[in-house]
Amino acid sequence: MIYKLSLIEVAEKIKKRELSSVEVTKACLERIEKSNLNAFNHIDRKNALASAKNADKMLGSGEYAPLLGVPIAVKDNICTEDMPTTCSSKMMQKYLPPYSATVYKKLKNAGAVIVGKTNMDEFAMGSSNLTSYTGRVLNPVDNSRVPGGSSGGSAAAVGGQLVYAALGTDTGGSIRQPSSFCGVVGFKPTYGVVSRYGIFALGSSFDQAGPITRTVEDNALMLNCISGYDDMDSTSQNIEYPDYLSALKGDVKGLKVGFPKEYYNVDIDEGGRDTALKALDLFKNAGAEIVEVSLPNFEASLSVYYILACAEASSNLGMFDGVKYGFRAQNYQDLLDLYIATRTEGFGDEVKRRILFGNFVLSSDNYQAYFVKALKARTVIKENYKKAFEKCDIIIGPTSPCTAYKFDAKLSFRCSFMSDIYTSSVNVAGLPAISVPFGKDKDGLPYGLHIIAPPLCEQRIYNAAKFVQDGEGKK
């Protein structure tokens, strides 16, 4: 079954010419068309097949690129000048960007066949894909449940084996949480490792694009292709970029694995807590050293995240005003009315909520008490992680305090307000982190194991994640 292969496996077969890119791409497109997941906002059949044909031609003349001929999807907040980019919002319906994102160009340069743009929470605000203007996405593991968000479409497309990899974006957990809900591997790189140029800005000092794949190796290969210094992004890391795939062994002997004691205070279902602790045993049995670390005031990091990310988002979403492109209200009396009507009709409720909150914390009366204080707290959170990493090499824990919940579920506090509790402080500190599938709950829904490392230690994470993946595979 072509669609059951991993990215590396299918890339290899295409390279060896055992499969053609065209047949692989056709198979994907068929599965996408038949799928009821609603994972895609846009499917570009024509260009995908043209790319596939071209890939086969290149291979025929002996040319090669790491992703040559492999069907991949891209989240719909990433600018693609040959496909609409809508952020699953009414505001951006039919918007065709005048340029393409760096990550998109990099994927194309690596030979990828881009089949389309995936569904998401509106403007990447949400963790269930329920705020999307283009409808809910179904979780491939259980269609009556949410896939998570905001990269719900990307995670579902990979989990549902519609594509071999997809790009997501992560501001407070939006790659990792849906990956954990859909049972796939999702990686958020160190801030600045992947260029933000061409990605709709949400929380500018938090956002990172990253790969969602079925295996850890696939993920490392994808990161190889999309990472790199970009002089169009002033926050891009100007460093030597390693080959994330080459030294991937899955050997954790002597690795110091940290578990924050504050995690015990977080409200999480028993199954989730047990699973995380089981992971610790797994590492210990393989020769790793388990270290208890501390992340003081851990729960406060969620507030810090919301204050700063919403502040940045409220400013970033100002440009959607109906003047230059996108949706414009039909009825308005004057300029002010144009702005009000357009933004009232064009934005969904969650987007409005976050813009209002962002404006609130930036308003002159509240700036010092909220924004400035959160900035200071951010520095402390970074310091806390730094101190913790003096004692350990990686920190593990659950990705999410809950597993994929039903669409009509009445959400508990932990699944709604606290859903980003484990993931968001990672963005606050600009650290790299992965969610790798680890165990299932009593309903058969996947848990995700969250692995965090110091800045620019992506390889360390991949190594530990491979270990976990291989252990899972043996079951």
């Binding site: 340029y99 933000r196 061409g198 308003s363 002159s364």
Partner: protein, 475 residues
């Protein structure tokens, strides 16, 4: 009750960098609407700012020229508000850590020297232009100007009269043009000025309520606006009323200003640090390097011309007003001793040519060495003053070396006393009646003889020598 005027200025100056401040669009004036912009400066999502190094250099240059402290740490902030000429709905500016602080500029009004303090200089981006349709067809937006680099210069309220404010403006424009950072054309909007004006009770230290005036498009408008505002505020305060703190728009046509918005309508700009740009860190080496690039400024030239060359203050001011003229003068000084004569030639004939040509920027197409050669020929009486002017015209239009031009046009004047004396004797002999008229006391008859000989010599007779000889012979 008598009042004292208190004036402060906010000056926006466009830096003449090659490209815009945050993108690589060309920084040029005019052009068909929206033909000089890109996704970044027209507010498309996903774009990111990349700081123009030359803009920083020019800002530092301006700061040094205006005696400011150059801050080694400064940062960029977002100023958020909605208006169609602001594509991103925020302007990138500098709020609490500007690049320069605490400068000064000395002005001279009616022989009195006064130092005006400069509070700060900061970098920011310009907005686009709105064109209001005259036939009620709405408003059109042109983003060509969006993203052009600006420095905003804010003075302390140290000026006490419209005359002082105008003197300051003239002076600062001279300094900015000298430092090469801007062409300061008020008519093109590359320099704009807003005036803050209040009245206080004479002798009191308590400042009155100030109003801000905008839309001052020329020195004349600014002057009239200030006079109008002084009258208006005086009338209010004399009637025991209160001046409203507001922004007023000057209308040249009606000669009045109108209220735009009051303090109650004042916007909360929700300033916060721009997360897309890293802080600007400058070191001593960088600042010193820019210091070396700064040319000698007008104040220094005036000092040098008056003390070393003994020129009058007036002459020194005229000569130093434009850098091109002053540097031409400086270069000529190297090979010419009579500085006063040189000054006169330049203030007279060179500046006449410049005015005649009326180009957008001053260009003296004559080499200083050649100009000196010309002056020398006049000094040694080889040519007359009129001839010198003719040669100057030829040199200006088509180049050429003065000695050659004199040869070619046969402009050498006849100073040879012997030759002239013969002609004089001849003409007197042939015209006994006018000679008698002269001897009888009609001095005007001399003009007849001068005219005759000039005609005969085709204007080449040295007028002074001719006059001397005629007078002597006629006696």
């Amino acid at each position: 009750m008598s009042f004292q005027t208190v004036i402060g200025l906010e000056i926006h100056c466009e830096l003449k960098t090659k490209t815009k401040i945050f993108c690589s669009c060309r920084n040029k004036f005019g052009g068909a609407p929206n033909t000089n912009c890109c996704p970044a400066c027209s507010g498309h999502p996903g774009t990111l700012p990349v700081l123009n190094k030359q803009a920083v250099e020019y800002a530092v240059m301006a700061g040094i020229a205006l005696n400011c402290k150059i801050n080694k740490f400064s940062k960029f902030d977002r100023k958020n508000y909605f208006y169609p000429d602001l594509p991103k709905a925020y302007q990138v500016s500098q709020f609490d850590f500007p690049i320069c602080t605490n400068g000064s500029l000395t002005i001279d009004v009616d022989g009195q020297s006064k130092q005006i303090r400069i509070n700060r200089i900061h970098l920011e981006e310009d907005a686009g232009k709105l064109i209001h349709s005259e036939w009620g067809g709405g408003t059109l937006v042109d983003y060509n100007r969006g993203g052009v680099p600006l420095i905003e210069i804010v003075t302390e309220p140290d000026m006490s009269s419209p005359e002082e404010a105008i003197a300051f403006l003239e002076n600062i424009i001279s300094v900015l043009k000298y430092s090469g950072v801007s062409d300061c054309k008020m008519e093109e909007g590359s320099i704009r000025c807003d005036v803050n004006l209040s009245l206080k009770e004479a002798g009191s230290s308590k400042l009155g309520t100030r109003t801000e005036m905008k839309n001052l498009n020329s020195f004349k408008s600014a002057y009239k606006a200030m006079q109008y505002e002084i009258k208006r505020q005086t009338a209010i305060l004399s009637g025991s009323g209160k001046v409203l703190q507001e922004t007023r728009r000057w209308d040249d046509n009606s000669g009045k200003s109108y209220s735009m918005r009051s303090k109650e309508d004042a916007q909360d700009y929700r300033y916060f640090p721009d997360p897309d740009l890293v802080p600007l860190i400058l070191d001593d080496e960088y600042i010193n390097e820019i210091k070396t690039k700064l040319p000698e400024l007008p104040a220094q030239k005036i000092e040098r011309y008056t003390s070393e060359y003994n020129l009058s203050a007036y002459d020194a001011q005229v000569l130093s007003a434009d850098r091109e003229v002053a540097e031409f003068f400086d270069q000529c000084c190297i090979g010419y001793d009579n500085k006063k004569a040189l000054a006169n030639w330049i203030m007279g004939d060179i500046m006449r040519k410049i005015k005649e040509k009326n180009q957008s920027s001053i260009n003296i197409p004559i080499k200083p060495e050649d100009f000196i050669k010309l002056l020398n020929m006049y000094d040694d009486k080889t040519i007359s003053q009129n001839a010198a002017r003719e040669v100057l015209d030829k040199m200006w239009e088509g180049g050429g070396e003065p000695v050659q031009i004199v040869e070619k046009l046969g402009l050498k004047q006849i100073s040879d006393t012997g030759e002239l004396l013969n002609m004089v004797k001849e003409i007197i002999k042939n015209n006994p009646k006018p000679a008698d008229d002269y001897r009888q006391g009609n001095k005007k008859a001399l003009a007849f003889f001068v005219g005759q000989i000039m005609k005969a010599t085709k204007g080449k007779a040295n007028p002074q020598t001719l006059n001397e000889l005629l007078i002597k012979e006629l006696e």
